[in-house]
Amino acid sequence: MKKNLGILGILLAVCVVASIFGDNFLTGYNLQNLTQRSALFGILALGASVVIVTGGIDLSIGSVVCLAGISVPWLLVEHEWSPWAVVPAVLAGSALIGLFHGLLITRLRLQPFLVTLCGLLLYRGIARWMTGDQSQGFQGEFDSVRALALARFPVGLEAYSVPATVIPLVLLAAALAVFLRRTVWGRWLLATGRNESAARYSGIPTDRLVTGAYVACSLFAGLGGMLFIFDIGSAQPSDFGNFYELYAIAAAVLGGCSLRGGEASVVGVLLGAATLQVLRTAIILLGLSSQLEFAVIGAVLLVGVSADELVRRLRERRAERAAAP
């Protein structure tokens, strides 16, 4: 809970700085845009956090975003599939990718880092080969499907409406929060992340849980990829989704997930995802060179996790002193 307040503090601080020094931060257009991007990256970050909870990692998120996203216009436009077939097919394909990762990790006992690093290369390569490395787009059609990402819901404000992507984000976040805190499988997933061996000795089906976590992560990435392409309309297979896994992992870590596993906060992850997007916008609005983007994000992440560690130690020491006679 306190961790969430910390990351909320960082988010508000960046917002305040950006609105004071940047002219267009507090405009409806910008805020609407930020909400959209935070929601999209939030979905990826939620997926990443499920895997991080088990003590694993998924580096293939960006490539899955690309492959799933690119497949949508490719199937709709080039192969003239029905949207009713494309959406389930792409989601099922994404889930299969996760299953593939999960089985390699739990059955062959390969390391998650290795498996998903290979995935990163594999799916990007497939996407580029499949499309002949050509840009894929909707060519002005399929607006009814694209509405899944492009629809806006007025909330009584003149310049600001809520983007449609907020709906899947809220649904997924709520489901994940309930899953982790209230269900047997969620509790077991956390236990597996804390000590996989002890969980196994307690009769917990750890292999199925871990596999399930990778399925969920890739499924979230596939859904995110679809919503991304609906939002932007067209994309290049060579760069679409590049580094998105790092935004997702960074958001999860900023939001309080321990890479050692066993710890996660859904609210924290959402705040982490939002913070990164606000930062990216702020860099542009403040007139900093956009080439600095990665450097700024890296620095903020480093400061964030260092501060968290220092505060934790300080609190421990204070508790020790307070209890002294």
Binding site: R194, N195, G262, A319
Partner: protein, 508 residues
């Protein structure tokens, strides 16, 4: 007599707090060369804290430590051994101090020196052996050799004999005596008072973080030490363990027809292992059966295959043969076995038992939650009630379900793991070294709980390296040797001599 020995290290008013809680306070202590000093006390009494302070691993919160001679090294050999398993013996001994020639490792010098230091601890093995391939007893000697090679004048051993077999203990005690004769100060913690009585020149007794007595040789005997450790006569605790198994037929010297009476009293065969073959002993098949309400002890030397057998029955490791519960075969795998009611309290609780960073409540309810959930939803009020009752039943100290398990003493961590299974009332309870590193008081309480589960109908099979524990807890003893069952002893036949005879390969 010890006055003329040089004081190497002296502590005055030494104390340490963790998160505000005092783990140790007001310790005055002199450590002298050429002396074996034993530190005894129940778990949670502050022994480990004292060792960490003496060896400089943690800084004192109060008081002072004076070192007589700055060049006199202090080395701590942990209960969990700290060797790099991928390096060879010589590499471990000289880790960080490798002899070098022009910047490159001088392997010849390293192996030669290593061989010399190994000889001082009576270990004649090839220094090029990888440490991961050594048995625990040898690793421990390697650690001691490493400490000596680093010029340690004070050698601190934390429960050095807890994983050793009887002959290995003998050897270690001889080495300790040898080091003492050469002027080294040897400080050790042990739960085995026999060893303390045999070798210690002085004994420091701790209770609840304070010294309750420092006794020189001649001033201590078993009952004095036990009284100082527990703060009361041990008889009540012992009586409790006995009364928990309040069954007149269990009396030690029952008649020769005891086996017949045994099967009459425990009619149903609950657990049956049919020709179970474990991975480490492929040529040996083990068959055994345990009746409902029966407690069977599995004795044997380290490496005789007890852990592999228990883990096979629990489904943790794959095995050949069949495991049957109440006459029906149970599918393979820990998930199926646990669901069927076969539970294992593992030997290595830190690695395989506890979730150290979770509260007691999560640890205790881990196996219970899915059996009492509503379509996957955790029954939160039910969970609280359950945890409360388990914590009270196993006499957890402190009786706080919100307490992080890492901060509990070894005995209370073990009670937490046992509590996880008490919560689900298993049909078969397997325990591997149920009271390793557990103090006398908690040991009796754990034994009582095991007996209670058996009285409620569970079949209990436990492995223990401590003959005393086997004889105290078991209704019947199976002795393992080299992966197979070397013999079975009824209660009236089971003596330490008979068990050791079978365990060391003697004819049945």
């Amino acid at each position: 007599m010890s006055v003329d020995r040089p004081v190497l290290l002296s502590a005055r008013g030494l104390g340490r707090r963790y998160a505000g809680v005092s783990a140790l306070r007001g310790v005055d202590l002199d450590i002298r060369g050429g002396e074996v000093l034993a530190i005894v006390g129940e778990n949670g009494a502050g022994k480990s804290t004292l060792l960490r302070l003496l060896s400089g691993v943690v800084a004192p919160s109060e008081g002072s430590l004076q070192v007589a001679d700055a060049s006199a090294g202090i080395a701590l050999v942990h209960q969990e051994l700290n060797l790099a398993e991928n390096l060879d013996v010589a590499g471990n001994i000289f880790l960080g101090r490798e002899p070098r020639t022009a910047g490159f490792l001088n392997l010849r010098a390293m192996h030669g020196d290593a061989r010399r230091w190994l000889a001082t601890v009576g270990l004649y093995i090839d220094p090029a052996t990888p440490c991961g391939a050594l048995p625990i007893a040898h690793r421990q000697l390697v650690e001691i050799a490493k400490a000596l090679s680093a010029n340690a004048r004070i050698l601190i051993l934390d429960e050095p004999t807890s994983s050793l077999t009887a002959p290995e203990v003998e050897r270690l005690l001889a080495i300790m005596a040898d080091l003492r004769a050469r002027g080294t100060a040897v400080v050790f913690v042990s739960h085995h008072l026999d060893e303390v009585l045999r070798i210690a020149d002085r004994v420091v007794v701790l209770r609840d973080g304070a010294v309750t007595g420092t006794l020189a040789r001649g001033d201590f005997d078993r009952s004095t030490l036990e009284r100082l450790m527990v703060g009361r006569d041990l008889a009540p605790a012992a009586r409790r363990a006995a009364s928990a198994s309040a069954d007149p037929a269990r009396a030690r010297n029952s008649t020769a027809d005891a086996p017949a009476a045994d099967s009459a009293r425990h009619p149903t065969i609950r657990l049956r292992a049919d020709a179970v073959v474990t991975r480490h002993h492929r040529r040996r098949a083990v068959s055994l059966q345990v009746r409902a309400g029966e407690v069977v002890g599995l004795a044997g030397l380290v490496g005789s295959g007890r852990t592999e057998l228990l883990e096979s029955i629990a489904g943790i490791v794959p095995h050949g043969g069949r495991v049957c519960l109440d006459g029906g075969a149970v599918a393979a795998g820990a998930v199926a076995r646990t669901r069927a009611g076969i539970a294992l309290v593992p030997e290595d609780r830190a690695r395989n038992g506890i979730l150290a960073d979770e509260p007691v409540s999560t640890n205790v309810s881990l196996a219970w939650i899915d059996r009492h959930s509503h379509r996957g939803r955790i029954d939160a009020p039910g969970e609280r009630t359950l945890v409360r009752s388990v914590v009270d039943r196993v006499l957890l100290r402190p009786a706080d379900p919100a307490r992080t398990v890492r901060t509990l003493s070894g005995g209370n961590q073990q009670k937490t793991v046992l509590g996880r299974w008490i919560a689900v009332q298993p049909a078969v309870l397997l325990l591997d070294e149920p009271t390793r590193g557990v103090d006398v008081g908690a040991r009796a309480e754990i034994h009582a709980e095991v007996r209670r589960l058996a009285d409620a109908g569970a079949a209990v099979l436990f492995a223990s390296s401590e003959l005393e524990e086997v004889l105290m807890l078991a209704d019947r003893v199976l002795v393992m040797h080299d992966g197979g069952i070397a013999g079975e002893l009824a209660l009236h036949e089971a003596t330490e001599e008979a068990i050791m005879h079978l365990a060391t390969g003697g004819a049945a």
